[in-house]
Symmetry: C2
Subunit: 275 residues, 2 copies
Amino acid sequence: MRLKVAFQGETGAYSEAAVLGYFGENISPIPNPSFEQAFTAVVSGECNFGVLPIENSLAGSIHRNYDLLLENNLHIVGEQFVRVKHCLIGLPGTTKANIKKVISHPQALAQCDHHLRALGVATEAVYDTAGSVRIVKDKCDPTLAAIASARAAQVYEMSILEEGIEDNPANYTRFLVLAREPVDPAGEAKTTLVFTLKNVAGALFKALSVFALRDIDLTKIESRPLPGSPWEYLFYIDFVGHLSDPNCARALDHLGEMATMLRVLGTYPRFHWNE
Amino acid sequence: MRLKVAFQGETGAYSEAAVLGYFGENISPIPNPSFEQAFTAVVSGECNFGVLPIENSLAGSIHRNYDLLLENNLHIVGEQFVRVKHCLIGLPGTTKANIKKVISHPQALAQCDHHLRALGVATEAVYDTAGSVRIVKDKCDPTLAAIASARAAQVYEMSILEEGIEDNPANYTRFLVLAREPVDPAGEAKTTLVFTLKNVAGALFKALSVFALRDIDLTKIESRPLPGSPWEYLFYIDFVGHLSDPNCARALDHLGEMATMLRVLGTYPRFHWNE
């Protein structure tokens, strides 16, 4: 039986590209309408894995998925980066000069703003990028185009009128691979933590000393105000290393001495772009 | 002549609520279709100030506006927090039981997902929250409702069918007030920095020592990978204090010794919820 991998969005979404990029073609990607439903599909055992976006280079961290990681007892077992490369997609046979209106998710429309203004077309928001391609297909209107991934064009057998129309090409999304059981990664690893600290001066500096004094590299740090508690913060940290490494395990013990809450969300193989 | 204050979105948007919350009613809020156009309106002198969102408690930081702060030579002169309280808005005379379809920005629809599923209505994405109220008004359809702020209902003379329908009430957005010239804040101040560091072990820890060793409190820290430079990061820091305070000025000088790039985006009065 093929592995089932839950993602949020429709067939042809960037999240599906992340699923296929990580697992290859011999699995079944399972679309889910919301992040929450994708988590539930893994927790319930309906799917073997979930692949959820955690940050985008232009839009920032997706706090909702950190919240769902804290609420659900799943483990991060991998990560995958996907370059977001928007395509202008229309009916087979139409041309860019025919297009009068472009539809997509508002974020995709905003990310192609310069380009769309140069084209002089009207724009209209729809629920998601892959769904916008389906709408163009259903309406069968040669003056209508969608913005989505090249894969969405392929899935719906539509034409790519132009590729890479985003204003900022440095647009990529990091996805986390989630499972009910942790993995023992071989090779270079990363570990993701969430913690809170007592509200005293220098608390964060002391917390970071547990890594700096052991020469452990951080790849991410972010503070997030706890809504309703104006002086309290959640901290998100990713560091290079596996928890089975005694140096990392001691750093975590040391952090545990000062943290008021500490959760390891996962320790997993690090992604490399040249793979 | 009234001050002109640029914001992104339509009349009735949450950003307009931030403008009015900060400046009061005796100014003219000027709507702009994009963040970029709102920046340009201030840089060109067309508007006196701009009010732009920088982070949301559920959705995270808006990196695009950090990028625009680095590209444009504007100063942060204030901050404003706005509670995001979504309302279900319909034609005057209609009731919640009549509603068959709800339209809004996809993020607002997602933030009210539980509630909308309980109502058993169809949903459709549109460009922004305030715009969805205008559409309901234009279509004059008593089975159609929008999700937006209470102010949007007031602006378009529409009925609030239900207030506070967001799944997570801890939903607020922090806005920055921008101007061409810096201000000399009285009272408690905050300072916002962007910097990069040499890619050496412990670099961030050393950078944070300039604040910790001087008992300066941080209210935000965030790393952002520099796209295209896998081992380089931008760091965003907010700290409590004004640059005219010698202790803060020395911390900044000290940080300048290690930073490969350092920009002060502003030093401005701190927002307090109980104001």
